[in-house]
């Protein structure tokens, strides 16, 4: 549905986007992750034909941003990062304006506005002047604007920015519900949000893609992936840690609690791609060491994020 090919954007001497290529298919929710200034917004502005790239191109639904920008925009609903809207209009007037420019009139326009007002929970404020709304509502007004034409593609730049936890949850639910029939790219720097709604994530840093995969795959890149956390009933003998380190597939043992050479809890890291849980538990059984807690780590996206973005 969206194909980005060798996209670059250079501002003066800043490479805001540096040779990015990827595809997003229908039904996918792609999380676009990266620290501030990574190039997320710039990439989105190029896809929506707001700014042209320095080189490379983008196709949306088979239409190219250079040869058919209007055709591209017709298919996209876009929520810019600052969620702008015309402050002197009421919510309904604003949505009506967007609907009319998108070619809907009369009953069809009314029906669409009604449906979107409901979906984005704007019913209570629909006759209010946008200028008088709180940040959370204004964010939703701009989101509603992006949905009026039921677009096959949604580009959402930090859609939950400035929302309170309830509103964040609601927004994620709406996105999740729509995800089946649409292609969605959403940028965020909230990792839990990515894990909650995205089937796939791309991490970019300084304009380059540094990781691409499902949240699980990303987590698996972490050194915590398949690590085993142990909590013992009594302090371990120093020899135990040495023995554990010698087990097949174990990379490192790190104390977590208690004395440094006789900890009561520690973490055993696996070598890349190795599963060590079985090995560790049968060893402990053999040695008759009584364990209070065993916990298998799946990996931590935040740690991977810091690792690949060099933060």
């Amino acid at each position: 549905m969206i194909e980005i090919r060798e996209l670059s954007k250079i501002y003066g001497n800043i490479r805001a986007v540096d040779n990015i290529s990827f595809r997003v298919e229908k039904g996918e929710v792609l999380g676009f992750l990266g620290p501030n200034g990574a190039g997320k917004s710039t990439t989105m502005k190029i896809v929506t034909c707001y700014i042209p790239p320095t080189s490379g191109t983008v196709e949306v639904g088979g239409k190219d941003i250079f040869t058919d920008p209007v055709g591209v925009r017709e298919q996209i609903g876009y929520l810019p990062e600052s969620a702008p809207s015309y402050p002197e209009m009421t919510v309904t007037e604003f949505l009506s304006f967007i609907a009319e420019v998108r070619g809907y009139t009369g009953a069809e326009r009314t029906r669409r506005i009604d449906q979107i007002t409901e979906l984005t929970s704007l019913r209570d404020v629909q006759i209010q002047i946008i200028d008088t709304l709180s940040k959370g509502y204004r964010q939703r007004v701009c989101f509603a604007q992006a949905l009026i034409h039921d677009p096959p593609v949604l580009i959402l730049d930090e859609p939950t920015d400035g929302l309170d936890p309830n509103q964040k949850h609601e927004m994620r639910e709406v996105i999740r519900r729509m995800s089946k029939e649409k292609t969605i790219i959403l940028s965020t720097h909230i990792l839990e949000e990515m894990e909650a709604v995205c089937g796939r994530a791309i991490i970019i840093s300084r304009g380059r893609i540094v990781a691409d995969g499902t949240p699980r795959q990303l987590a698996a890149m972490s050194k915590y992936h398949n690590a085993v956390t142990l909590k013992l009933r009594s302090a371990a003998k120093p020899a135990l840690m040495k023995d554990l380190e010698k087990l097949k597939g174990v990379a490192e043992v790190a104390p977590l609690a208690g004395k440094k050479d006789a900890p009561t809890a520690f973490q055993i890291f696996a070598q890349k791609g190795k599963v060590i849980l079985q090995e560790v538990t049968s060893f402990l059984e053999k040695k008759k060491i009584s364990v209070e807690e065993v916990y298998l780590e799946h990996g931590r996206v935040d740690e991977v994020f810091r690792e690949v973005t060099g933060g």
Partner: protein, 244 residues
């Protein structure tokens, strides 16, 4: 172009939503009639025509039109709504044209509201209505040229004050080039053909005929070309400033 109407409608609504529109119309009426009554001695001149009324328009528009147009694109840029407007499925040309047309219509309305001047002229005598209509059309055309310049300068910045000053300067030059005092000096400095050429670029020169009721195609073409060229420049600025 079918997308233009909703934008024009929205813009017009925007004018009348804010008190600024009413203040503007008030100032427009007071200044246009005030200058012809007091500076032009409209009433005592006992002339049943609007020539004096139109005479001051090039000077008044210097302030009035940048005041209307300065926010056209500067405001979109400042509030970020430009990102919404220009990612709708419309071309930049449509966007520029629509916003311009709305502002021009608003100017046209302000101009129509000066109709008491026509009534007064009719009271004073028996004015030639063809001449009056030509004057109005000329003034409206000239307003379009001022406005196109303002729309262009407004696309250069997100600061309305800078936008105002820029368009004021450009329009001032175009008015001055045809100002009697200056043209006499020009003839002394330059060869006549060059002095003529320079004055040909002036608003005043091209408005002089129209305000007296003389329709010369060259004058109409002059104002129309300024509108086209400035709006085209406006489109280029929008497209290029986003490309940087």
């Amino acid at each position: 172009m079918k997308h233009a109407w909703p934008i024009i409608k929205r813009e017009l609504m925007g004018y009348f939503r804010s008190p600024v529109a009413y203040v503007f119309i008030f100032i427009f009426l007071v200044s246009t009639s005030g200058t012809s009554w007091y500076l032009g001695n409209f009433y005592t001149s006992n002339e049943a025509s609007l020539e004096l009324f139109f005479f001051f328009h090039p000077w008044l528009y210097l302030f009035l039109i940048p005041a209307v147009g300065m926010r056209l694109w500067a405001e979109e840029r400042r509030t970020g709504t430009m990102e919404i407007l220009l990612t709708l499925p419309i071309s930049s040309v449509t966007a520029v044209m629509s916003k311009f047309l709305a502002a021009w219509l608003f100017m046209g309305l302000s101009l129509l509201l000066t109709f008491p001047m026509i009534l007064t002229a009719n009271y004073l005598g028996d004015p030639d209505s063809g001449v009056m209509v030509t004057g109005y059309i000329g003034s409206f055309l000239m307003a379009g040229a001022y406005l196109a310049i303002t729309s262009f300068t407004s696309s250069l910045t997100k600061n309305q004050v800078i936008s105002f000053i820029l368009s004021f300067m450009v329009c001032l030059i175009l008015v001055m080039l045809g100002w009697g005092v200056l043209t006499r000096t020009l003839v002394e400095i330059f060869p006549v053909w060059l002095a003529d050429l320079i004055t040909q670029f002036s608003f005043t020169t091209h408005f002089n005929g129209l305000r007296r009721g003389i329709i010369d195609l060259r004058d109409v073409v002059y104002f129309a070309s300024i509108i086209v060229v400035m709006l085209y420049a406006n489109v280029l600025v929008l497209d290029n400033s986003r490309a940087k």
